[in-house]
Symmetry: C2
Subunit: 332 residues, 2 copies
């Protein structure tokens, strides 16, 4: 892919994104009760890449559909995504999200639970606008996505309190927690775009592998990014005692007794203190965990690209490739 | 309606209920992660009248449809209802539900939030099984129900902290919080049963008024029922400082300074102590609030019955009447 392609795709992304932002800014305008819709507005208007709606839109185009037919579904997946963010932030005791306070901190727990539930209701309303006879499959795909996200988040919380987690178990967890929604986006878009069975399958597979790469990159950024760019505290995963890919890989590779002990401390104490983050970053570096994670991210990205190899629409196949590469280079 | 009718309807109810219980008992069997599905099983198998699924089933029959076509949608509304219970119990700090601990008490907050979300996902999965081309309207009805429940619950929490609430505002709140789902049940059933527009409208109106009567009865039982029968603490609404119909009516009718002061205390202190419940029950009695509430319940019940007056199916029209009267006489 050359630079001109990248510029063109960035333009398409930007123009679709503006349309999306306009629709999103109008979503909960002047709705009552304010105590419900203000938190909904606050979270949905807090920015973010709008990656998931973009996947819906490109997937629809990639199989010959039109942007405009997929725009309601695009809003729907963004709403679904924000629903998961709000509830996950409660469960993770997160203080910040995209550089702003999380809903349960800015408002309270009740407001956050309800805003999440309502975002989900709104998601379905939008999904219903955008589809006709194919309702059933599209809605079933969407629902499966929702249930997998719940299952994944449940495993994630479960792993925090478990003494040992296998890397394979971790991969199943992020497949559900993160990749399932990427998969859902691509599948829904492809279905709305009237893709063939093979096309829907290819895009679904692309979404899943891309989602895996995305979550691994997320684990990596949590410890390696700059706090100002990430918009939340660095090392939050270690502080919460989360068994990320990096942590599990470190456990696997550690040989020196002091490294083993330091890692075991995270498990025993269910997390670390903020002051200890630098020390753990050094352990990760020393054990080559950073490179191992990057290798895994690349592996999933290549898997994703392989899936869409046979897509006929060269333009949007190239745009999906651009997207995958763009995510690889992200810093937040 | 004579006693034989009542017996026959009770038999129909019992036999449909057994089928429903069997399906419900299998809903989350052997599903993983256990940390997600065990709480889901616990709440959905904690009994209850299964009133909402029954509404779906009868509404379908009342317009000429078959029970079996509405059974998936019946499971769906019960799942949706349980989703709201789990999240509402968190927001209300409720300790008990149907005589058992609430999910956030038995497990923890995270498990309860997620179980609720997942019950909702499961609800959609079932709804999708049960419908075909009419998907869009049915799903839109269902979604509207979900959003109204969120709005109602949000108003309910908002009212707790507001100094004054009008009775009309209260009625709007319970229309959303409770009646909307009753309305949804009847509407979905009628749509699945291929009812005419007029039939769907009549059953929707029936559901709404029945739901209003149900919630008012709920407010009444909260202070007048026996604790063992109710399965939760008596007077919980007053303890939480909820502005129920009874409370707002008492405020309206109070003339003596000591009554006014006692009621104002509930507002100022955002609730009362357990030991004070008997004193407030006496105030309610003295002010005729109990009778006023019963009058309002009867008014809504009559409105509900009027709506279905023109239904052609005499048998299931009679069963809906039986149901409404049965709810009037309930003690939990």
């Amino acid at each position: 892919m050359n630079i001109t392609d990248g510029n063109r795709f960035k333009k398409i992304y930007d123009s679709q994104r503006i349309k999306l932002e306009v629709r999103i800014s109008e979503l909960f305008k002047d709705k009552e009760p304010v105590s419900l819709y203000e938190p909904c507005s606050f979270i949905i208007q807090s920015g973010g890449k709008r990656l998931r709606p973009l996947l819906v839109l490109i997937a629809a185009r990639a199989v010959g559909g039109r942007f405009r037919d997929a725009q309601d579904a695009a809003v729907a997946v963004e709403l679904l995504h924000n629903f998961t963010l709000v509830h996950d932030d409660i469960m993770d005791n997160a203080e910040k999200r995209r550089g702003r306070p999380t809903l349960h901190k800015k408002y309270d727990l009740n407001a956050a639970i309800l805003a999440g539930d309502n975002l989900l209701g709104a998601a379905y309303e939008f999904l219903l606008k955008g589809c006709h006879e194919k309702d059933k499959n599209i809605l079933a795909t969407f629902t499966r996505g929702l249930i997998e996200v719940c299952e994944g988040q449940s495993l994630d919380k479960e792993f925090e309190t478990r003494d040992s987690v296998l890397i394979d178990e971790y991969l199943v967890m992020i497949q559900k927690k993160t990749a399932a929604l990427f998969e859902t986006c691509c599948s829904i878009g492809a279905q709305i775009g009237n893709g063939s069975k093979a096309e829907v399958k290819a895009l679904t597979g692309f979404g899943r592998s891309l989602g895996m790469a995305f979550q691994l990159q997320d684990d990596l950024l949590d410890i390696m990014a700059e706090e100002a760019e990430l918009g939340k505290m660095i090392g939050g995963d270690l502080i919460e005692g989360k068994k990320t890919f990096l942590f599990l890989k470190a456990l696997q590779l550690a040989e020196k007794p002091e490294d083993k002990k330091a890692l075991q401390n995270v498990i025993d104490n269910k997390g670390i203190q903020k002051e200890e983050i630098d020390a753990y970053r050094d352990i990760y570096r020393r054990l080559n965990v950073i490179e191992e994670t990057e290798k895994e991210i690349n592996r999933y990205t290549l898997l994703a690209l392989k899936e869409i190899n046979k897509l006929k629409n060269a333009e949007f196949k190239a745009m999906l490739e651009w997207l995958a590469n763009w995510l690889l280079g992200r810093n937040k």
